[in-house]
Symmetry: C2
């Protein structure tokens, strides 16, 4: 067999060593395809940042090679980065019908809908993208129309799972495509690139129908109104809620922008079946007896502006929590959100509601037995655990080992790491540029570490601005020094402290000026040092000190 000069390379620009902003890049020679383009929500330290997207410098450096972006499903951590990516990389986008529907809505918000080519895929579609031959297989997840990609390359077949679980009694009647996965395994899979989210969880993830059964139980027993909050993208769950309501004679009102929008798109595209008479307007809730009402709402994560959170605070324009209400959080707090969720739950209890916040959820990601099933169906030669933080990837790697994958053939990628496959072998072969781009307002990537560091400092002890006007001729003080503080102390109670501080600055400057020190940087440094020391002694706080010198 002639030695091929090219190699297949796989790189992750997002979603490894982290949860969020998923983006995997496949390259063979001059052909590149991208799987997913997600966003991530900011870490706590990323003060003032709105969203985070992958650094796509590598793709921009190879702009002419990118043949298309294939999207596994419509969750934000897989499509949220698309508007930003497409602005500088206008390539065709491939996905299933619901996925494209959600993408289109997003592109419209960014004014990119007309300029983007959206190509629908289903279980039969085969796309030739450069040297890559890409087909699609369905899996189960917490949003319908989800799947993975089987990517044929000159080196062999790669199976990219996307986010998946195996739900044997799925709400839409379409289980994950075991037969296709088995056929890939029969043909021979070079590499499996798989979802590690729940690798630490033993056993199986329960079927979505289990949640539906629990919801039905609650709907049947609730004495008054029901307010149910869940993930707006979990159409299967919304379907089961709607069916329960219909079964038990309740009208359904929908509140919360993303819930309304998602249900509209899902219904229009045929993914959600609702009887015409079921839905009522939020304004008409009062026209029905409480036990005939179910309100479907956003806010299961305690998001500050969501409908449920506003209801809990007594700040929702149309809905007020009443004793007798049953509030259901059909969800689980995403790590980091626990405090917000529990705060909302406490407020709902105080408002007199009966709150059910446990046992009404099932994850969209497979647990250990399902991950092993995927491995045994596809029987890959090489294994790349992705979509997870490091410990999840590591645990997934151990699972792969336990079912027989050679540990030498398992690669735990970090952002930008490149694994190359050639002539039946694979090895890590360097890194490409990869990382994080922070978006704040309209600015993409302009807020970096320095700005964040300053925001952090300001958030801890505030700022002290020291202004003084010096004479152009003599260098003497013409006006000031004046000290203005924000976020440091409560000014009305700290006059003595600030007076002393002002005198100290005046003395410092006067002394330096009479010593003929006129360099502004020296004057500023002296003010910063003297004042900083004084304030720390007095208060044990370190506000940012900003000396400003004017000349007149």
């Amino acid at each position: 067999m002639a030695r091929k000069r090219q190699k297949l390379s796989i790189t992750s620009l997002g979603g490894v060593g982290e949860i969020g902003k998923n983006m995997t890049v496949y390259r063979y020679g001059d052909d590149i395809i991208v799987i997913d383009a997600g966003l991530k929500f900011p870490e706590e330290e990323m003060l003032g940042i709105d969203v985070v997207i992958p650094d796509i410098t590598y793709l921009l450096e190879n702009k002419d090679k990118v043949r298309g972006i294939f999207v596994t499903h419509g969750h934000e951590d897989h499509i949220g980065g698309l508007p930003y990516v497409l602005k500088s990389l206008n390539v065709p986008v491939y996905g299933t019908r619901l996925t494209l529907g959600l993408i289109e809505a997003k592109l419209k918000e960014h004014g990119l809908a007309d300029s983007t080519k959206l190509n629908q895929m289903d279980g039969d579609t085969v796309v030739q993208a450069g040297v890559f031959r890409v087909s699609f297989f369905y899996v189960n997840h917490s949003i319908p129309d989800t799947g993975g990609f089987a990517i044929e390359t000159p080196e062999g077949l790669v199976v990219h799972t996307g986010d998946f679980k195996f739900d044997h009694t799925p709400v839409d009647g379409r289980p994950a495509d075991l037969h296709k996965l088995a056929s890939y395994g029969d043909r021979g899979v070079l590499a499996l690139v798989a979802d590690s989210t729940n690798a630490e969880r033993e056993g199986y993830t329960p079927s979505e129908r289990v949640v539906g059964a629990r919801i039905d139980e609650i709907v049947m027993q609730a004495p008054g109104r029901i307010i149910l909050a869940t993930f707006a993208s979990n159409i299967h769950r919304l379907q089961q809620v709607v069916e329960s309501a219909e079964r038990h004679g309740r009208k359904v009102a929908v509140v919360g922008r993303s819930m309304v929008n998602n249900m509209q798109i899902a219904a229009q595209l045929g993914y959600l079946q609702v009887q015409p008479a079921t839905l009522i307007d939020a304004d008409d809730i009062g026209k029905f007896p409480p036990e005939k009402v179910l309100i479907l709402s956003t806010g299961s994560q305690g998001e500050p502006m969501s409908a449920l959170t506003r209801m809990a605070r007594g700040a929702h324009r149309k809905i007020e929590i009443m004793p007798g209400d049953t509030v259901v959080l059909a969800s689980s707090p995403i790590p980091g959100n626990e405090k917000y969720v529990f705060r909302t739950i406490d407020q709902l209890f105080r408002a007199g509601a009966n709150v059910i916040y446990r046992g009404v959820h099932a994850s969209g990601h497979g647990s250990q037995e399902e991950l092993k099933l995927m491995l045994n169906l596809t029987r890959p030669q090489f294994f790349l655990p992705v979509h997870g933080e490091f410990r999840m990837q590591k645990t997934h790697a151990e699972l792969a080992q336990s079912v027989g994958v050679d540990p030498e053939n398992i690669f735990i990628l970090g952002l930008g790491d490149v694994v190359e496959f050639g002539n039946g072998r694979a090895a890590v072969a360097g890194r490409v540029t990869a990382g994080t781009v922070m978006i704040d307002g309209l600015g993409v990537g302009d807020v970096g570490n320095i700005v964040l560091r300053d925001r952090k400092l300001l958030s801890q002890d505030g700022i002290l601005v020291v202004v003084v006007t010096l004479s152009k001729e003599t260098g003497r003080i013409l006006s000031g020094p004046d000290i203005i503080s924000r976020g440091f102390v409560y000014v009305r109670e700290s006059e003595a402290l600030l007076d002393e501080a002002t005198k100290l600055v005046e003395a410092t400057l006067t002394r330096l000026v009479s010593d003929n020190v006129s360099e502004w940087s020296s004057l500023k440094t002296a003010v910063r040092d003297t004042l900083g020391r004084y304030l720390y002694e007095q208060t044990r706080r370190r506000p940012m000190i900003l000396p400003i010198i004017m000349e007149a």
Copy 2:
């Protein structure tokens, strides 16, 4: 029976509707006793705040009536507020030996050790504090020498549980005092004031010995060094770790200030038994083979400056994580700390350690069956669920109902709510001043909502300072305007934006000055409005804008 004119009142100044800063106040006529004086760690929104303590205005208004502070155990949320309280309320403090030992160390830091009267209590002590006759009973918890108080009042006996679990195989051989609790129940308990922390958990909380067994398993099997992080105050757990190490021939090095301090106090007072040859200095770790070393460390909560977190970051002066190390987190993330803990775990995995972070912990608080046991032993007429967030108090109230307490006799207190007992009846009778005092550096309570609001604003989009010097005579611009920003944009890349902004401010001021507007407040408002609007249009960000006018 002559009608008593006085009533017994119970109020919580901390620890209800929240976790932390516990403080319960019992009053009868002119006698007040306080149970516990804790602190709480700041919420996320309390930017720059160090700790939070109860607002004791009510106690200060009744200074002459306070007979003493009784402390249930040595955790920060029960003793952390003492130094601040004692500064303005110098009353005797009562507690067990270990509790007083920990309190004394704390008072020394604040220079209050000499002026405070510390009175030791044990199972036999009875203290007459005004009209209250206070005795102590032991319970089990995650720190030794913990108990509750039986408070005899003219209205009847109140049992204040403090934090408790029922551990039938406790490490120190002293189970909770079931017999005393039963005797209280026999005598007749007016009210039970009980710990609601784990009211949502079904079943029983496992014994601390279960954790010891698991630790022993790990110590036996670990191939190389062991680094074990746990709560420094959990002396029972430290005892089991030390015993395991001794049993398996390992030396123990202790790192982390609070771990070193707590172990010293516990050993000195006889609560921790360590064989002389067991402990080694951190500097001597290298002198022993890895499989003969166990390092006991702080950092089980991912605290930024703790020993384990620094090791994980590669920033610990003495200890570097090596492949072959087994790191054990014998703990569970306190709600809110999950991200920090998992970040540390990922870093430890990356550094090559085998990390065990599940299944090596048992809570110090009783679950539902233990809470019901406490209720059935004491058989109180009235029930006050405390020490928990609202949903925990509510669930605890439901448990009390389920064992037969009349729902009318159950009171879920909020901060400051007063429950009065008189003539066999009880009712909520108004509120006293209660709330939160935030401590930042040396300042106690001076940082309030305004300062926090400013810090929040500053943390989101930074600050723009606009300085201009106007002529005293003509009002015209002498110098500036100059714009200095921090935390808003990366200045080097945003010169055009800031130049435009400066021109805009200049135009605005020039126009107003020529229109004879000289009121500084009007000038500042105009600058703030114009600049704010412009910046939002350009960036969708809202930095704080601070216009400063000087005269010369």
